[in-house]
């Protein structure tokens, strides 16, 4: 178990895990699509030049090549920005990976508003919905360095295809090394009984933590779940917190259609129907700006979470 507290960026946690896997298992190969320096997969290239392939700006071919490598018994990781890793290559990842039963570990960077200055053209809000259409793919969105490192490795160990939603820049250190982090098991960061806030990813979990404190001052005890694994969904935990709180707010850095909120609502309506609300981008397209601006523009703020949670808690 490695300590990730000295890492400066989320991408470093991703590459720490992949490089470790590459050192341990010579079947691990890494493909990038001219964004190697953006993720730092150049570190894999330096360690294992014979197992790293830069596919150039041709993402569809990269996913097909990865599927072919998988059929040879190799263990490919691929990286490109989340928009290209999902929208651009959807048919390839559906057929050559999913339908053909191949195992490819796909890293999609800059989820949602974390794409910041690359703007609306580069802002993946739909990647979760698209990946959910491909049966069997594990989907994770860890909220901090340690969970990123742990979960990338755990997703690899499942030997099923996986998609990791990973911010490149910025970092959160939420979980110290040694924290029990288990793929498919959400983490309860606060245990209240007035309202349950389910958050995915660094932006929403971070804002959720702030919101819990503000709500506490207002006399509202909220539950906060870091739902780092989107598939498989931790239905047991979701049912438990829904029963306890009687209302659920789902916060995701993405689109409602096909996203985490819809996924949870579909489950709870059949098991523990409760009042629900959702924080996401709804029908809007992305736009350019820094993270603070974008969070405000889309309402991805602690204040907005508090406002929604207060209504649900009443």
């Amino acid at each position: 178990m490695k300590d990730t507290t000295k890492l400066a960026n989320m991408r470093d946690a991703v590459m720490l895990a992949i490089n470790e896997l590459g050192d341990q298992d010579e079947r691990v190969v890494m493909l990038d699509a001219d964004l190697a320096s953006c993720l730092g997969s150049t570190s894999f290239q330096e360690k294992h030049p014979d197992r790293f392939f830069n596919c150039g700006i041709a993402e569809a071919n990269m996913i097909g090549v990865a599927a072919g490598l998988s059929s040879m018994g190799l263990k490919p990781f691929t990286h490109t920005f989340g928009i290209f890793a999902s929208r651009r290559v959807f048919d390839q990842l559906f057929l050559s990976v999913g339908y053909a039963h191949q195992v490819v570990h796909m890293i999609g960077t800059d989820p949602g508003v974390t794409a910041q200055y690359n703007g609306g053209t580069h802002m993946p809000f739909e990647d979760i919905a698209l990946l959910r259409q491909v049966p069997g793919v594990t989907i994770i969105e860890p909220s901090d360095a340690q969970s990123m490192y742990e979960l990338v490795k755990q997703a690899y160990a499942l030997d099923k295809s996986s998609y990791t939603r990973a911010p490149r820049k910025g970092i959160a250190h939420r979980y110290p090394a040694g924290t029990k982090i288990e793929l498919g098991k959400g983490i309860e960061l606060a245990t209240g009984s007035d309202v349950a806030i389910i958050a995915t990813g660094s932006v929403m979990v971070g804002e959720g933590e702030k919101a819990v404190e503000i709500l506490k001052e207002k006399g509202i005890n909220a539950t906060l779940v870091d739902l780092h694994t989107i598939r498989p969904l931790d239905t047991e935990l979701l049912e438990k917190v829904a029963k306890r709180c009687g209302s659920v707010l789902v916060c995701e850095n993405g689109r409602y259609a096909g996203g985490v909120g819809e996924m949870i609502a579909t489950h709870l309506i059949q098991t523990v129907p409760v009042k629900m609300d959702f924080l996401n981008v709804g029908e809007r397209f992305g736009e350019v700006g820094n993270l603070a601006y974008l969070q405000k523009a889309f309402g991805f703020t602690a204040e907005n979470i508090v406002a929604k949670a207060e209504k649900l808690a009443k």
């Binding site: 197992r51 569809a60 071919n61 599927a67 072919g68 190799l74 390839q92 057929l95 053909a100």
Partner: protein, 274 residues
Amino acid sequence: MEINELKRKALQIREMTIREIGHFGSGHIGGSMSIVEMLTYLYYQEMRIDPKDPKKEGRDRFVCSKGHAGPAVYATLASKGYFPVEWLKTLNAGGTNLPSHCDMTKTPGVDFTGGSLGQGFSAAIGIALGQKVKKEDSRTFVVIGDGESQEGQIWEGAETAAQWKLGNLIAFTDLNKLQLDGPTADIVSMENIDTRWLGFGWHVQRINGHDLAAIARAVEAAKEVTDRPSMIIMDTQKAHGFIPGENTTKNHSMAFDETVAEEAIKELLEREGE
């Protein structure tokens, strides 16, 4: 195997393919029949494979990226003993192991899934790359269609295979000059296809795709080239050998019953002097 013996095998595979599609009542006869000589040569002469152990480590691999030619691939695999010839009667039937488009999860001997055009080609490049990573001395063979070559993914693959100097990759283009809606030249032309591949840095040959001796010579020449991937462009006739489909542009998929199939086989055998 002597060329004449290979010719007889190719004729048998043609018969099996016609019967297979006739039994179901319709299918992609055109693009199946145009690659029969290539399949015969690869499976009976060239590839290091073991039908009793379809997933044998270190084997040569073949990807039918023009996945709709499944019926010809299945006839070839059945003829080689990968599965009973009887299976050919199950083409497209519910629960079959022989779906219209090649599916590696269903059919013993199919090395990769094809069906969404362009995708098998990238997978073949990944397989050839994997053979190099694993330091195998094996080769990857892949066939694409001329219509399929309209897909952008083909050219994404072309540039990377050249960049990675995949000398163990030998590709074929089935230049049958017809696609579903009609002549390729009238839709999106594949004119100058030789120079396109040359421009991408491939070793390029152009042959008569129905001439087994020419296929043999081209494959041998391609094997000598180790610093580049090879493209063997085969001039072929769509539906070649299914005589009712030979002189029409509407032969991508045809409906015909077993009676028509048997008449067509008889006509073919007469023409071939058998």
